[in-house]
Symmetry: C2
Subunit: 213 residues, 2 copies
Amino acid sequence: MTQETRPLSKKDIRRENEKLILEAAEKVFAEAGFGGATMQLIADLAGLPKANLHYYFPTKESLYRRVVQAIFHDWLKAADIFDNAPGPVEGIGAYIDAKMEISRRHPAGSKVWASEVMHRAPVIQDYLETTLVEWTEGRMAIIRRWIDEGKMNPVDPRHLLYMLWATTQHYADFGHQIETLNGNAPLSDAQWEAAKDSVKTIILTGIGAIPSA
Amino acid sequence: MTQETRPLSKKDIRRENEKLILEAAEKVFAEAGFGGATMQLIADLAGLPKANLHYYFPTKESLYRRVVQAIFHDWLKAADIFDNAPGPVEGIGAYIDAKMEISRRHPAGSKVWASEVMHRAPVIQDYLETTLVEWTEGRMAIIRRWIDEGKMNPVDPRHLLYMLWATTQHYADFGHQIETLNGNAPLSDAQWEAAKDSVKTIILTGIGAIPSA
DNA sequence: CATCATCTTGACCATACGGTCAGGTTAAGA
DNA sequence: TCTTAACCTGACCGTATGGTCAAGATGATG
């Protein structure tokens, strides 16, 4: 009863293999860092011979670049929720939810991103200077508007954003520490909910968007 | 007018060289990660021949272990302030100040720590499971006491601690991103003060330790 | 001053890694 | 069916890296 699979088209092969490689690469880069990752390790995890990796991605660096770019893309996309929100409770609340969900579902990506930035962003510095700067300015303007409209306290928008990034990404980047402090067990569904609630409550209370208990 | 330096004693030589090596190693490990760091790079930065490093630290891993242990030590020491504080405003406020100061003065150490944890703590897992667990339990007890005494809102102490770690360490670990968003300039004294104030205000307000603006 | 333990270092080695390539296989297209 | 372009991969190569070592220099000790 072997599965009767008709041959994949060339395009499907390409898409399939690139996907396999990128997924494996993300994991390995996250676990070992760029320097500690080896093409052989990635190849083994992807189930392909090493030479095949070099067929699709000429160098280790080009593979790494693709991984980081994909992560940056998701990173920005998570912030769409921020816009069009009537106020901080909805906007920031949803943003926290979205970023916590990323931390939960794609911890490897978050780690690769953290590693890249920690190492002075050798690959995506240009993105930081253009896209990220614009993105940040835009959200800061929204926060300022909410402040002007009296929907929250006059906090520094920049540091509020840093706090949002730091707090949500912490659950991915330091996930191992958190698991250790949780008796070497991953957070349960309920614990993830509690984490989200805690973060949202403290921050939204902290900026005066919801009343203190 | 050459300096007339009398010969260093053997003990001084050892202390001096170990210090040189450990400082250089911390920087290199922070910038390149464990895998990306090379003994040659560390040797060059320390101004010593590579073979000399292996005289004091037999392997790259043993050197790395010493670096991480030193950082963990500082990490815990910063929390002494936490104890004996009459309430969250003083205790948590001082803790935030202390950890922000570490992020400012020793960003490399913070990065090495982050990297170690992100890579599943291959070297200090036992410390996490013993010392860190105890430390965390202790501070959670203090926070619970403050809650019982009505000095702050009944937030989850665990997630409050995570938020404190995440937010303060973010200024070191993601310092490059922060600098980029600051027009490629390091934060000035005033900006560091503003950062500290923002963090303290939002968190202390968020837990109901100080009134909302 | 003589002996010893400690420190120093250039030269060397084995290994692992990123990357190459030639020769083969397979789907696409005419 | 035949040709071509895309895909596949075992074997190979140069280099960089962690680590070793033997021989010498230097401070401690009595």
